[in-house]
Symmetry: C2
Subunit: 477 residues, 2 copies
Amino acid sequence: MSTVDAAILKEIVGENNVRDNEADLYVYGSDSSVHEAMPWIIVRPENTEQVQAILRYANTDKIPVIPRGSGSGMCGQVVPIRGGIVLDMKGMNRILDINLKDAYCLVEPGVIDDDLNRALKPHGFFYPPTPASSRIATIGGEIANNASGTRSVKYGAVRDSLLGLKAVLGNAELVSLGTTTRVSASGYPLERLLVGSEGTLAIIVEAAMRFVPIPEFRCLGIAKFDKLADAGDAISEIISSGCQPSMLELVDKVAITAVNKSMGLDLPDVEAILIFEADGMVKQAVDYEIDKVKAVCEKNHGFGIEVSYEEKERTKIFAGRKKLFPALSKYDEFLSSTALADDMAVPFSKMAETANKIHEVADKYGIVMTAYGHCGSGCMHTKILMDTTKGEQWEAAQKAVIEIYEYVRSIGGTTSAEHGIGLSKAPAFKKEKESTLELMRSIKRVFDPNDILNPGKLMDAPDDWLTATHLRYKVGE
Amino acid sequence: MSTVDAAILKEIVGENNVRDNEADLYVYGSDSSVHEAMPWIIVRPENTEQVQAILRYANTDKIPVIPRGSGSGMCGQVVPIRGGIVLDMKGMNRILDINLKDAYCLVEPGVIDDDLNRALKPHGFFYPPTPASSRIATIGGEIANNASGTRSVKYGAVRDSLLGLKAVLGNAELVSLGTTTRVSASGYPLERLLVGSEGTLAIIVEAAMRFVPIPEFRCLGIAKFDKLADAGDAISEIISSGCQPSMLELVDKVAITAVNKSMGLDLPDVEAILIFEADGMVKQAVDYEIDKVKAVCEKNHGFGIEVSYEEKERTKIFAGRKKLFPALSKYDEFLSSTALADDMAVPFSKMAETANKIHEVADKYGIVMTAYGHCGSGCMHTKILMDTTKGEQWEAAQKAVIEIYEYVRSIGGTTSAEHGIGLSKAPAFKKEKESTLELMRSIKRVFDPNDILNPGKLMDAPDDWLTATHLRYKVGE
């Protein structure tokens, strides 16, 4: 099946950095999505010259090249649906510089988020976009997906932390994009064009990122709501009244049930929970934000409000949210937690309505869906819990997904808040961005004339993920 | 000379919105730069359909179209060096929506920065990138140049406030880019590609921007230094020690002299001044930042430190900085203040060295140059004061500019921090971005296949601004 010459690749990166046995191909054939497709070979470059040499070779034979971090992506971004070479970028994982005087750090793409933060901590700084997967997520993957997370309400997404990049284009040319300076007005910001490009435009080999001071004080709170709509009103009012929380999370009833059932926790049996945090260098400033958020929650019928500055207490309050993701996987032994329609961004004022819509659609199609997310940045997460061996469950899920995305577009939302598009969300993405798909294709041709960089994704992904692309699950067995 | 049909354009926008008399052409032939070139006609569209119709017409005959805000640009961005239609975007100046619930505003490109801030103020919010020209600068122009200003050290540049855009491509097609949601991971961020594109890729017709709460407290301070290097060390240490000022400005000796001489102010006769500000919702948090900045200044031999929360006192302290720009114009009746090499971004640790280099080069070539700027965001401003009627002064200025940019590149700086490239900085820009100029040209072809949008700028600008493009000044007369 493979039309790749392992000997040439071994020449470039060394014997040990090339893998093509069945077991390795299997591991690299899937990520954290529902998709699966086997690569021809796994190559682990250790430096930029090797990346360039691999791309020169791949261009000759038009072999697909898929750059991959840790495979924590939830939409099939690194699933090689046209085969080819998976570039395991974890071989380039050096923190090249932490430049305190000029306030940036220089990292290779395979550096793990938590490792970068461990290196910054002794200096009193942190890199803030940090998604929930920070234990394994690489900075390169985060840039390629414009990752964000719980603290993005205050600190922004990856696009807000990026200063400059070095990247290898489809034709193997190395380019330097952006700057390491704090501001720049020097022409087209090509470095930012790569944020969210999911490996389709260039392979990032170095990144200059900002960092910010670690706050001295953090206060975390929780508020309970008997009506989801009240929690939704509170979210919008927190934002519109100028509160500046460092975290604002929504957890709905389905999610609460899942956590209590699977993890043996004792979350309050209410319709919705808001978890909020404020941080700062001065306690009075944190108090000020927390008091404002509390007042808005109370005004909107929030009750049972608790807040704490103590780390132990904060960890306890946040445990329900933190354990939500694994809890959903354990919800029912016959139901898998699938990342489908899993992270829309919606207007703040529509968070509750979106959650209700999700429940309504789930009921209509007889599936289980949760609604939770980083509502402070307008990010709504869902998971579909279903028996993935049953074809009819997939069909129901697909109908639900289509209906949810139609709704999201109708209220001015967007297909993905932070997980990216890949394969799973491509049909919705293509509908949302219909007027610019050709523009995107033309840009891809500029960066990658032979269409070898992660081909068949985003605007070029199959329209029907259920039939056109490989699923990890054996349906109907 | 003109090869444009005024009748067709009058048909599109109405008789009153077309101007082609000599006096109008003269006004629109220059901006705030040293450049000048006459357009063929001035057209003022009032809505998106008119912009599209104008571009359809312009495409047929490949007529250049130059979108223009208020002409506050300092590098010749809107000087029509190939003639054509100047699109006066001030005809589209409506604030379409201030959406508090969803935390964004929707504006047409001709909205003036100060007008937007006046509209946001009653709601307790402000739009923070605000350059010094905010009294006339339009939001469209600010986006096209990735403008920033005194408070960008804390609040970022325009790229950090932008959410989404509507824009008309070179082929007259209307596209919607980005979102109005706070985060997005939906594919290529094309809206961000337009930030800094200086009207060469598309004509912005609507923008969705973020805003932030107006702080309750602002405290401004000043510190004096007998050595520029000490001020430079203070800047870098303020940043590296995790201080978070909302403003950090450097004023050098030449600038101090200019202000004192021209404006009759009584600024301290020292080598350098740092002006700093902190802001916040809680006074203790502002005190905390101010105390930290003061301590760093003192450690680095800063003296005569004064701070104040009082608006009157703050205005007085800031007057020297605020009046610097007009003061330079009045420095000497035979010397004009020219914007050449006027806003590099450099590493924080190199601010003082850059200022010294500027003085050294000015001495070498017998011209007068100042060094000042938003050092909190790494932005170094200069002006060259010279007799613009003398050819030899221009030659000296050109040599100085070349040498300064060589230095800036050698220390990892970038050609423009916030004023953009246009014509004046194109030679330096083209050297800095040499490896990506073809990439930029290919991208321009995608957005504007007939090269009608602001042609001959950025990567396509003449290499020798002194001889190849029109100067406003009559040299040698």
